[in-house]
């Protein structure tokens, strides 16, 4: 169990780092979704299925979707200029 938690924590640390390091927002969205996924795995491992489910629904699906839409809208603005 302790190994599983340690592994999940390491993954969270690495994926968080990757989100920050991906300077191109179009790539960052996917890092963000991956970060959300890894976090929800960590939450399941930490015996918090309720939190894991919300994290999965919100930060893995919805938030990245909002990021994508924002970037798409910005790209369309750009094209219009």
């Amino acid at each position: 169990m302790s190994l599983l938690i340690a592994a999940a924590l390491c993954l969270v640390a690495v994926s968080g780092f990757l989100v920050v390091r991906s300077r191109d927002p179009n790539r960052q969205v996917f890092a963000l979704a991956a970060n959300g996924l890894v976090l929800s795995v960590l939450f399941f491992v930490l015996q918090a299925p309720d939190v894991g489910l919300s994290e999965l629904a919100v930060n893995t699906v919805l938030t990245p979707l909002m990021f994508l839409v924002t970037l798409a809208a910005a790209a369309m603005n750009e094209a219009r200029r």
Binding site: A6, C10, V12, G16, D24, N35, F43, Q47, V58, M66
Partner: protein, 116 residues
């Protein structure tokens, strides 16, 4: 192992801050803010975790089996909602800024300074 989760939480806070400070794109900056926030999730859930305990849900096992702290989990649930709410607002603001200025570089966008 006993301090590792706290270090991960601190790492997420720190790396998120580093991202915010150095960011050159509003949307990237918002992503960094959510990394910063995930540090608080890890901290809170880590505080409630107990070795060998199950989830605080007594559906499959009877009430009284060791379970982790449900309070911090409720706190993190609120935290997630707050995070989503703030992220949505920030993205909207970024979008509208882009419509008006055609740029999302924080170094170029400064309130009340129209000439840059």
């Amino acid at each position: 192992m006993s301090v590792f989760p706290w270090l991960v939480a601190a790492w997420l806070l720190g790396i998120g801050l580093y991202g915010i400070i150095t960011s050159r794109h509003y949307v990237h900056l918002i992503g960094c803010l959510s990394v910063l926030q995930s540090g608080t999730y890890v901290l809170l859930l880590g505080i409630g975790y107990k070795w060998g305990a199950g989830p605080p849900i007594f559906y499959d096992h009877p009430a009284g089996t060791p379970a982790v702290d449900p309070i911090v989990q409720a706190l993190v649930l609120t935290d997630i909602v707050v995070g989503a709410a703030v992220t949505a607002l920030l993205l909207v603001i970024a979008l509208q800024v882009h419509k008006r200025r055609g740029s999302l570089d924080p170094q170029e966008l400064r309130p009340l300074r129209p000439d840059n």
